[in-house]
Symmetry: C2
Subunit: 157 residues, 2 copies
């Protein structure tokens, strides 16, 4: 056909990257519009890790896939802005437990809502069955490449 879709020929890697970029970009835009323009996706990852009973800086670093110094800097930043607190760790030692403040918990709720909203919209536009199939195939791809323990999600290239 003369009007051939260039996306049909695109590399799978490109399709995945572009899909991720567009969806994440939309997510970031909406969360920023909800009053969180000062939080990047990595901060959301931090909140996910700390959700529940918190974690130490080293645990956080491992979960984020960065050095403990980098994790410390992120925590410094979030502490200054009132999203986390450092408390003495029950197990003592030099350990300190990083925990979420209410502001961070509220952000988690908003972010979760935005994610579901976005996914619902995509289900409408792409078809719920196709979206479910997309999820399922992606999950198998991830399991195939990374097993049961996918590595930390890091900025790509």
């Amino acid at each position: 056909m003369s009007d051939h879709d260039p996306l049909a020929d695109a590399e799978l890697t490109f399709l995945l990257g572009m899909g991720f970029q567009l969806v994440l970009g939309e997510f970031v835009t909406r969360v920023a519009a909800a009053g969180y323009a000062d939080l990047r996706p990595v901060h959301g990852m931090v909140f996910q890790v700390l959700k529940g009973c918190g974690a130490t800086g080293s645990e956080l670093a491992e979960r984020l896939g960065v050095t403990k110094q980098a994790a410390g800097q992120i925590v410094d930043d979030l502490e200054r802005r009132g999203y986390v607190r450092r408390e003495p760790h029950p197990d003592g030692g030099r350990r300190r437990l990083v925990v979420l403040t209410d502001a961070a918990v509220r952000h988690l709720a908003v972010a979760g809502e935005v994610l579901h909203e976005l996914e619902d919209e995509l289900a409408d536009r792409l078809g719920a069955a196709d979206l479910a199939h997309l999820r399922e195939t992606l999950a198998r791809l991830i399991r195939d490449r990374a097993g049961d323990h996918p590595p930390p999600l890091r900025p790509v290239w």
Copy 2:
């Protein structure tokens, strides 16, 4: 069920990001093993843009979604390492045409081969029909969010 798949509950955004990260990581590893450990994905994007008849620095910058200074720095780097040349532009002015050397053309061939190899392996493991469906749904997602002119693929967060 006691043995429930945590990936089934994961956010779509997460699945897309993890899928992209794993596939791109595998791609980078294999291309590095083929002798191109000194080239990042962005260099491959540059080669894609310049493939054919080359481009000016400003055109390249626009296609990459960076400032022309950043594009100039990348071109400086690639020129030093023998992957591109700057030639006088046929249209004159201050313009200069950045074109690929044979080394870059060889890299393009290798990278293309690796991408197809990777996609064939995934077709084997996930099922050709499911992979085709994945591609098709991703293409529709991209078209839905970006129309016919998807923005440059950039490092994400």
